[in-house]
Amino acid sequence: MSFPTTITVTARTDMQDQFEGFVSNKSLPGARMTLGEQSHEHRFTQSGEEHRFTVTADLERGEHDVVLEFMDVAEAQGAIEILSLYLNGCPMGLDIYQCEYRPFHLDGALRSHLYMGWPGRWSMTIRAPAHENHGGVGFG
């Protein structure tokens, strides 16, 4: 049996210092969110832009990763900050910090980071069905 699960992640790009960005030819990043076999891509077009990544996937009972990763590996890109995560419409509280961020150029993971200053992969584990495993989600 599978459980349809919808995740919305709101993320904002941060080009940091505009002059530094000009000098180092820093580009606006693109990001891809993946859940199960579904994904959603977006390329930011201006500094400070916020975007909602929404994916619905049929998940088997058990653990699954929500992944938000840079589409390009080049280091000269703006940063991406994760602002919020909604699971089936329910806003995650402190649980959002149960995440890990793996910059592409580093070995190992940084825990509880919502700010991706380097291109990399951010992930958080959720459990399906969400209403039986995550407090506050649906009529659990």
């Binding site: 806003p91 509280g93 969400a130 039986e132 649906g138 009529f139």
Partner: protein, 288 residues
């Protein structure tokens, strides 16, 4: 009542379309897929049976206050089981706004107010409440104060779901006995205190930081500057022993119509107390 019978009672009283609409109003379009084939879990059915089905005599024809109504499911179920009017109270705006919109759209006799346990006595008076539901609020609110307020009011019935700890969990040591000998007497129960963060389904309950809580989610772990501030979401949870709870109910003078301790732990739930088999249900009568 068997599980199958509870489920068929659920099916007779719940409108699936209503549940989808409630969810849509509370959690928005992201809840749509989740609710497509929604099936109540065993834990949900157990709570429904003990808080609503078994308490119908306290609901039918009565004006009901659901204190800490959360997503409003039990307010709705109380109404479906005959309550003439239901008032739900909850600190989080996302629930209050969504549930009021749902009630309005369907012309249902329900209304929801943003408030706290400290508002209960006033709301009981203002809404001429006959029955109060206190579901899983005993460990995070001033439960004893609410019990006094209800006892002194014109409320007729009290439906409670509480967490109670088995009395043998704590053995009293020699110091307790020595203290008793000098005149303090023996304890009649105990309360265990846990500190944790309330940025979860019980958000918004730290009285120190109510004014700065997120009005929609009740979250208190984000400071005014938008940065993580876990100090503000810190809260104490106080879980009482079975004997203390029973003694306190006796002390306040309620009549116990029925009391039931959870028979078996449940799985597939985020309710850790249900998963450990610690729930207890009371139906109390407030006789003068």
């Amino acid at each position: 009542m068997g599980k199958g019978h509870t489920r068929s009672t659920w099916d007779q009283h719940v409108g699936q379309g209503h549940l989808r609409e409630m969810a849509l109003n509370i959690w928005g379009v992201d809840s749509r897929e989740m609710m497509t084939d929604f099936e109540p879990s065993d834990t949900l059915l157990m709570q429904y049976e003990n808080n609503v089905v078994n308490c119908e005599q306290a609901l039918r024809g009565n004006r009901v206050l659901d204190m800490g109504c959360n997503h409003g499911l039990y307010s709705y179920m109380a109404m479906r089981h005959g309550a003439s009017h239901v008032v739900g109270v909850e600190p989080r705006g996302m629930f209050i706004n969504g549930l009021n919109a749902f009630a309005d759209q369907n012309d249902l006799p329900m209304e929801f107010h943003r408030g706290y346990d400290t508002d209960m006595a006033r709301l009981v008076r203002e809404h001429s409440i006959d029955t109060v539901m206190l579901m899983s609020v005993d460990d995070i609110t001033g439960w004893e104060s609410m019990m006094y307020d209800i006892r002194k009011s014109d409320v007729q019935w009290l439906i409670m779901q509480v967490i109670t700890l088995p009395d043998p969990w704590i053995d009293f040591n020699k110091d307790i006995f020595d203290y008793a000998k000098v005149g303090a007497g023996m304890p009649v129960g105990f309360t265990l205190h846990y500190d944790e963060h309330n940025s979860n389904p019980r958000a918004g309950v730290n009285p120190m930081h109510r004014d700065t809580a997120d009005p929609d989610t009740g979250y208190q772990h984000i400071g005014p500057d938008g940065k993580l501030d876990i100090k503000s979401s810190h809260v104490f949870r106080s879980v009482k022993s079975r004997q203390y709870m029973r003694k306190f109910i006796d002390h306040t003078g309620f009549t116990v119509v029925s009391s039931k301790v959870q028979e078996t732990p449940t799985t597939s739930t985020t309710n850790r107390s249900a998963a450990y088999g610690l729930l207890q249900w009371y139906l109390l009568r407030n006789e003068k």
